[in-house]
Symmetry: C2
DNA sequence: ATAACTCGGATTCATAATGTCCGAGTTGAA
DNA sequence: TTCAACTCGGACATTATGAATCCGAGTTAT
């Protein structure tokens, strides 16, 4: 609320949805958690809408990145060790696997349209965009959730994750 | 119109606006043009909305990538040799310079919020996203408009650009 | 001097992300 | 065994953003 004006700079179009950031934060927290964590608790911890975060956690669940435990003391748990979950996995789970660039096949339109037979391969522009898309994804694939957790720990030089886990499972068990 | 169903696959979020593709096609065409080309003509050539394309060409003009010539036989001309215009230049001109990821500073929210003093540097998640963003931009920067023109020429093994330029300046001069 | 043609910015419409709700299912305890 | 509480899951409004459009200012060739 207070830092809203500083952070929510409007972007024009290539912006990544905000849900991705929340989902990544949740994954990092789940790295340290030892019991299932409910979506509502994660939302309170991060100060975001509970129902909205739930939506994105469901996406992670569908992508098999987290496993949902139902029932009274249920919640979410990582399905794999955090070393085997990449940032790209999370981004694709939340944003969908669609590429950043979808070719509208402009070359096949208008009076000088290229014949469909000549358009089996993507056009030069599309190739350039695809290459950039691949570079982006490759960079995201290089960073695992475990890496993120380690970086967070280094940043603050105190066991923040441990403190958070402590907060997640209070006396009211 | 005919190839609509095949191309316009819906993407979820990280999609690049369609204007980028049109703008790039225009730049490639302008590579070969020897006289100013009006926006309306470019729109007809590519089979897209004239007024909408105009909007994006204005963005290119604002970014100093093309120069607008007013008056009766006016239109758009590239300001620099195509070797000195990168694909990234066009993308940033149309999409805006905003990064793909804007950090909402989740770490400063909620009951375990980090103090603002500890948040001078971007968080680990943001750093990973910025790195990916840089990789994406670097890939786009590698490809110039001139490169795109050459690739197009190779793809079709006939002087398509020449034919297009011929169509652009018909008898009605 | 004129008239036609150009670009430029302000405006409206549609799509998609954001945020919310309630129902189905499961678990733990009584 | 029963019950009750708590969990996730998908379907539903709302709002912000991009897509598409229009008309006015300026310039140039006639």
């Amino acid at each position: 609320m207070l830092s809203e004006s500083r952070c929510r700079r409007y972007a024009e179009s290539v912006r990544l949805s905000g849900g991705v950031e929340a989902a990544l934060h949740c994954c990092v927290v789940l790295t340290a958690a030892t019991e299932p964590v409910p979506a509502a608790r994660l939302a309170e911890l991060h100060g975001v809408s509970a129902t909205y975060l739930a939506k994105h956690l469901q996406a992670l669940s569908r992508a098999e990145l987290v496993h949902s435990v139902q029932g009274k003391s249920g919640g979410y748990v990582l399905t794999r060790p955090p070393e085997e979950i990449t940032t790209l996995d999370v981004v694709e789970a939340v944003e969908g696997p669609a590429p950043t660039f979808v070719c509208a096949e402009i070359r096949q339109r208008g009076p000088m349209a290229a014949p469909p037979e000549a358009c089996t391969a993507p056009c030069a522009i599309t190739r350039a965009m695809i290459a950039a898309d691949r570079a982006w994804r490759a960079a995201l694939r290089e960073v695992s959730i475990a890496d993120l957790g380690r970086s967070v720990a280094q940043d603050y030089e105190s066991d923040v994750l441990g403190q958070i886990v402590g907060w997640l499972a209070p006396a009211e068990h």
